[in-house]
């Protein structure tokens, strides 16, 4: 039932002792990186200044801007020779966050993935089909390594097309999938095309839904269509990727591995800790990572801690399904996109006016990004062709940057509402995105 019984069921007081020991070590090691070295000096914090878990509050938060400012090596706390792997976060800005791992880091991450999957009931007798992009994205390799560690037979199917995926499932008796929710929904149609009923004609029993926020409703739908149990999980590249927290067989919130991560939940406005069980922004500190320790990382993800003990007997607390973001990151087709990226691109295109608006729609299973762009008054010479050229130019430029083809609509100067606040340029019409 447990991958590592002792650590998974560790009593709270013992967990706290372990966390403190690991935190001390992490803070000391972090102080050898350029970024934290400078930071500690500036605020007069001593690398051995941690004597209780609460002392972490004397260290400022780390944000993704910090990671970008000291890109790419500013947070490395070991000699560069010790690094054996790098990954990108799933965003597309020029300076995509890059995370480095030592051999021990990859090993610890792999163990967390194995622990997570084992927790859902996956065993070495299972056939695991990893339908996720391999490469810079953490989801592919993260799950792959974990499943191998667990001892399952791994089919590294990657981004093969849906029919081929179904063929693999059929030929090799796949029992467990790692798949994005939109792909899972899409697959139901493909099963019909090839005249197969996934409930009867496959051995499928489990799916790990990853890389996109999805609602409880979507999960239920996927479970119904494929005749499986679908598990939600949460992770972010900055904290390795998948394997930060995962649902157990009871599917009531995701256990967050507190032996590897120190968890805080803060009010994103005041930055003060919220009372336990209150909605807030998740802040995480790595407790075992050697290559690139990160302290008090603001994930921008909103959730709530579930403090009641779980029936499964694990003592690691659970978080609820992510409720949204505290910044204006948009997650479209699994890719993180910032309005600022779009703004920067638009500013470089002659003919583009002052204002733009991003509208996100979900049609069926597809996310659509519509960008309304004001045309510059002076640019217009009365030519429809000129406008059409401008539109394709914007569309091409954005596609090259955000990897998704937006639907660009040109609008009259000063016709769009002036943006207010951080999310003023985005209208998200996708219902139940976070459930």
């Amino acid at each position: 039932m447990y991958w590592e019984k002792e650590i998974e069921t560790i009593p709270h007081d013992k967990l706290k002792v372990l966390q403190l020991e690991r935190l001390k070590k992490t803070v000391r090691s972090a102080s050898t990186s350029d970024f934290y070295g400078k930071l500690f000096k500036n605020i007069g914090f001593k690398p051995d200044g941690i004597s209780s878990l609460k002392d972490i509050e004397n260290i400022p938060f780390t944000t993704c801007d910090d990671l970008r400012d000291c890109w790419p090596y500013g947070l490395i706390a070991v000699s560069r020779d010790e690094l054996i792997r790098m990954h990108f976060s799933s965003e597309t800005t020029e300076r995509a966050l890059v995370i480095f791992h030592t051999a021990a880091d990859v090993n610890a991450w792999t163990n967390l993935m194995a622990r997570s999957m084992y927790m859902t009931g996956m065993r070495k007798s299972d056939v695991f089909q990893n339908m996720m992009t391999y490469g810079l994205f953490t989801g592919g390799l993260g799950f792959h390594y974990g499943a191998e560690r667990l001892g399952a037979l791994v089919i590294p199917a990657g981004s093969e097309n849906s029919r081929r995926q179904i063929q693999l499932m059929k030929n090799f008796g796949t029992t467990v999938l790692h798949i994005s929710p939109s792909h899972a929904l899409h697959l139901s149609g493909v099963f019909k095309e090839v005249d197969m009923d996934p409930r009867k004609d496959t051995e499928l029993k489990t799916a790990f839904l990853g890389s996109e926020p999805h609602s409880e409703e979507t999960r239920k739908q996927i479970e119904e269509i494929l005749g499986i149990k679908a598990f939600n999980s949460y992770g972010l590249s900055e904290m390795n990727g998948p394997g930060v927290s995962f649902e157990c067989q009871f599917q009531q919130g995701m256990h967050i591995w507190e032996d590897n991560y120190l968890v805080e939940v803060i009010d994103p406005e005041t930055l003060e800790p919220v009372p336990e069980g209150t909605m807030g922004e998740l802040v995480l500190t790595t407790l075992v990572r050697q290559g690139m320790p990160i302290l008090r990382y603001r994930t921008r993800d909103l959730t709530r801690m579930i403090t009641e003990p779980c029936e499964c007997g694990r003592t690691h607390r659970r978080i609820e399904r992510i409720k949204g973001r505290t910044d204006d990151t948009m997650i479209i087709k699994g890719i993180n996109i910032f309005p600022i990226q779009i703004e920067k691109k638009l500013n470089n295109i002659p003919g583009v006016g002052n204002n733009f608006l991003i509208i996100l729609e979900r049609e069926g299973l597809n996310d659509d990004i519509i960008i309304k762009v004001e045309v510059q008054k002076e640019f217009f010479t009365g030519d429809l062709k000129q406008l059409e050229n401008l539109r394709s130019r914007i569309s091409d430029a954005l596609k090259a940057d955000i990897l998704i083809t937006p639907r660009v609509k040109l609008v009259e100067p000063n016709s769009l509402p002036k943006p207010e606040g951080k999310t003023g340029r985005v209208i998200d019409n996708r219902k139940n995105l976070y459930g």
Binding site: K377, F380, K409, L410, E412, S415
Partner: protein
């Protein structure tokens, strides 16, 4: 002679044309001809008016994106083959027509064919050599059919 057409950039949605005509009506500007070209979500309204400069000014003042565009307004005969004679000439001379529209001045006598072309100067010379008359803005408002004349 070169004439001027007002081109207005507008989103393709109800009420945009009404806004344009309301502004021009208020400014007492007469519309001689109008065409609309659209590209699903946006379009361009092309207007031939009696006072293009003033027309452009009032539209811009009301916040519309309007610009003046050079066009050729060519006098043709309002009878079968009248337009053909002109268009055959343009084809022979390899002049590409980007946009065109026409209106009758005097039934069975005279009509005006308005064209946007890629090489406006050259097109003008070719037309002149072949005996076609092109009208400028003032002439356009002057060639009133008798019964339209302002008394």
């Amino acid at each position: 002679m070169i004439a001027y057409q007002i081109s207005v950039f507008a989103e393709n949605k109800p009420g945009r044309l009404a806004k344009v005509t309301a502004i021009l009506a208020k400014a007492k500007i007469n519309i001689r001809a109008i065409t609309i070209s659209t590209s699903d979500e946006f379009g361009v309204i092309n207007l031939l008016v009696d006072d293009p400069e003033q027309g452009q000014k009032v539209l811009a003042k009301e916040g519309l994106t309007a610009s003046l565009k050079e066009v050729l307004a060519i006098l043709i005969e309002d009878r079968p083959g009248g337009l053909d004679k002109l268009v055959q000439l343009l084809a022979r001379e390899n002049v590409n027509v980007e946009n065109a529209y026409g209106f009758v001045l005097e039934s069975w006598k005279r009509a005006v064919f308005v064209i946007e072309v890629d090489q406006i100067q050259r097109a003008q010379e070719i037309l002149k050599e072949d005996g076609f008359e092109t009208l400028n803005a003032e002439e356009l408002s002057a060639v009133e059919p008798f019964h339209y004349m302002k008394y």
